[in-house]
Amino acid sequence: MVALPQTQDQPRVVLSARGLGKDFGGFTAVNDVNIDVHHARIHALIGPNGAGKTTVFNLLTKFLQPTRGQITLLDTDITRMKPDYVARMGLVRSFQISAVFPHLTVLENVRVALQRPNRLSTQFWLPLSSLDRLNERADRLIRDLGLAEFRDLRATDLSYGRKRVLEIATTLALDPKVLLLDEPMAGMGQEDVRMVANIIRDVARDRAVLMVEHNLSVVADICDHVTVLQRGEIIAEGDYASVSRDPRVRTAYMGTEE
C-alpha cells in the first residue's frame, strides 16, 4: 500500500508502520504490514485467531523487536527503541490479560501511573503519605470511570469488567497520545461492553486509539477505520461497511461475521 499524500483536512497520522515484519525462527508471524493510526480516530485491528494481531501490537509498542520495517511515532523513528521509552513518549498499551497490580488498591493502581510523570517514583526516603498529593487527580479519573465506590478495594477483588476499566483508568492517567487496547472487551458481559465502548469513544476525542477486538458489533459501532489481518498480512482496510462486504474478509471469517 502506498501512503497517500496528506492534505489539510485529513486528520494527522500519529503512529505509522511501514513494511513491518516479524519472523520467529523460520515462521513468519507478521509480514509487510503498513498501518496509519490517526489522531482522534478509533482504529480497529481485526482478524481470525492466530492472524498476528497481538504480535503487531507487541511490535508497535516495542515489546517485540521487528525483523523488518519501520515504525514512526509523531515523526520520530522508534523502530529500535525500548518499550518503556516509547511509553514515556506517549504510546501506551493495555494487555489481552487484564493488567492491573492485583494486591494494590484501585487508588494505588492509578497512582502508580501518576507517580512517574509527577517525579514521585524514585524517592526512597519519603513516606508513603507523600503520594497523597496525587490523590486529587487519581480520584478524578476513578470517579470519571465509575470506580469511586471501589477506590480502596484491592484490584484482585474487583469483577473482571471493572478490572478492565481500572486498566483503562491507569492508562489514561498517563494522558497518552496513542492508546493501544488489546481486546478491551474480551470476556465482558453486555452491560460492561456498553460502558467500556462509551469510555473508549470518550477518550478518543483527543487522542488516537488502536484496538484489537473480536466483538464485531462493537467494531461496527465505534470504530472509524478497520484493518483486517490474516496469517500475518493485511487483507482489507477501510470503514467497517466496506470491509465487511469484502469477499476475502468473509472467507477469512467463514460465517463468524454477523
Partner: protein, 332 residues
C-alpha cells in the same frame, strides 16, 4: 509489618479494635528485651545475632520486596568486613568512618554486580550473582590486603566519634543495637516509600510497569545497591564485633546461609528475616559444642520449614487467624 491495609485481608475475619496499639506494645516489648539482654546473655553472641539479623533483613529487601534471588550476597557482607577492618587497622580510621567505607565499598560492588546480573531473571540471575561472588572470593583469597587464609586479625574497635570506647563490650553492644535499629528503619522506610511502591508494582506485574513507562531494570538496580549497602553495614559492624575479617564471610556457603535465614523467618516481612537469623545463629551457637554436626540440624529445620511453613515462621503467623485479627497482612 510491611504494609497494613485498613481493610481486613480476608472478609469475615474482624480486626481487633486495639490491634494497632497491640502491635506497638509488642514492638516496645521487643525493644526493651534487646536493651536488657546483654546483662543476661553473652553480649558477643547477641551482637553476632544482630549483625546476621540485619544481613538477612537487607537480603530480604531484594528477595522479598523486589523478587530477586541473589546468590552472591556474601560478597557484600564479607567484602565490607575486609574494607572496614583494613581501614580501621592499617589506616587508623575511626570505627564510624571504617564502617562507612565498608558500606560504600559494598554499594560499589553491588552496583557492578547488579548492573551485570539485573538483565537476567530467575535462576539465571541467581547463577550470575553466584559466579560473580565466586570471582570476588578468589580475589579476596589472592589479594594482599586480605591476608588470604589468615584474614585481617586483631582489628581495633577504637573510639566511636572519638569519645566512646568500643572495647567496652556493653558500649559495643549498644552501638551495634543502634546500627541494627537504624538499618531496620532504613529498610522499613525504603519499602514504604514512593520508590517502594514502584518496586511492588514491578513485582506484581513487570510488563505492565514497563508499559507505564518505568525502566524496571533501573529500579531493580536501585534495590540491589541498597540491599548491598545495608548488607555492607552488617558486615562492617561484624568485623568490629569479632575484631576479625575472614574468608568465611565471602564464601558461597555464607550466601546460602542468609537465604536459609530469610526463608525460615518469612520473606516479604520486616521481622521474618530477623527471627530466621536469630534461630539459625542460636542453633549454630548451642550445637557448636556438641558432637552432633550442626549442618544436619539446620538442614532438617530447613526441610521441615519448607514442607510445613511455606511462608516462614513469621509469614505463617501473619496468615494465621490471630495474625489476621491483629491486622497483620503478609505481603504475599
Amino acid at each position: 509489618m510491611a504494609h497494613h491495609s485498613d481493610t481486613p485481608a480476608v472478609p469475615g475475619v474482624s480486626v481487633i479494635p486495639a490491634a494497632a496499639s497491640i502491635r506497638v506494645i509488642f514492638l516496645l516489648g521487643l525493644l526493651a528485651l534487646l536493651l536488657v539482654a546483654p546483662f543476661f546473655l553473652y553480649p558477643i553472641f547477641l551482637m553476632k545475632l544482630l549483625c546476621f539479623a540485619l544481613f538477612a533483613a537487607a537480603f530480604n529487601l531484594l528477595l522479598g520486596y523486589t523478587g530477586l534471588l541473589s546468590f552472591g550476597h556474601a560478597s557484600f557482607f564479607g567484602g565490607a568486613a575486609y574494607f572496614t577492618a583494613h581501614a580501621v587497622k592499617v589506616w587508623g580510621w575511626t570505627p564510624e568512618a571504617g564502617i562507612l567505607l565498608g558500606v560504600a565499598g559494598a554499594a560499589g560492588l553491588g552496583l557492578v554486580m547488579g548492573a551485570i546480573a539485573i538483565r537476567r531473571q530467575g535462576i539465571y540471575f541467581a547463577m550470575i550473582t553466584l559466579a560473580l561472588s565466586q570471582m570476588f572470593f578468589f580475589f579476596c583469597l589472592q589479594a594482599g590486603f586480605t591476608h588470604g587464609e589468615d584474614g585481617i586479625q586483631s582489628v581495633p574497635r577504637g573510639q566511636l566519634f572519638g569519645m566512646i570506647n568500643l572495647s567496652n563490650t556493653i558500649n559495643m553492644y549498644f552501638f551495634v543495637l543502634g546500627v541494627f535499629l537504624i538499618g531496620l528503619f532504613i529498610i522499613w522506610r525504603f519499602v514504604n516509600s514512593p520508590f517502594g511502591m514502584i518496586l511492588r508494582a514491578i513485582r506484581e506485574n513487570e510488563q505492565r510497569a514497563i508499559s507505564l513507562g518505568y525502566s524496571v531494570s533501573r529500579y531493580k538496580l536501585g534495590a540491589f545497591v541498597m540491599s548491598a549497602a545495608l548488607t555492607g553495614l552488617a558486615g562492617g559492624v561484624k568485623a568490629l564485633v569479632f575484631q576479625f575479617a575472614t574468608l568465611t564471610d565471602v564464601t558461597w556457603q555464607m550466601s546460602g546461609e542468609v537465604i536459609l535465614m530469610t526463608l525460615l523467618g518469612g520473606i516479604g516481612t520486616l521481622i521474618g528475616p530477623v527471627v530466621g537469623a536469630g534461630l539459625v545463629v542460636t542453633l549454630q551457637n548451642y550445637l557448636a559444642t556438641s558432637n552432633f554436626p550442626v549442618t544436619i540440624i539446620t538442614g532438617v529445620v530447613f526441610m521441615v520449614c519448607v514442607l510445613v511453613f511455606r511462608r516462614g515462621l513469621v509469614g505463617e503467623f501473619y496468615a494465621s487467624r490471630l495474625g489476621r485479627r491483629l491486622g497483620l497482612t503478609s505481603e504475599r
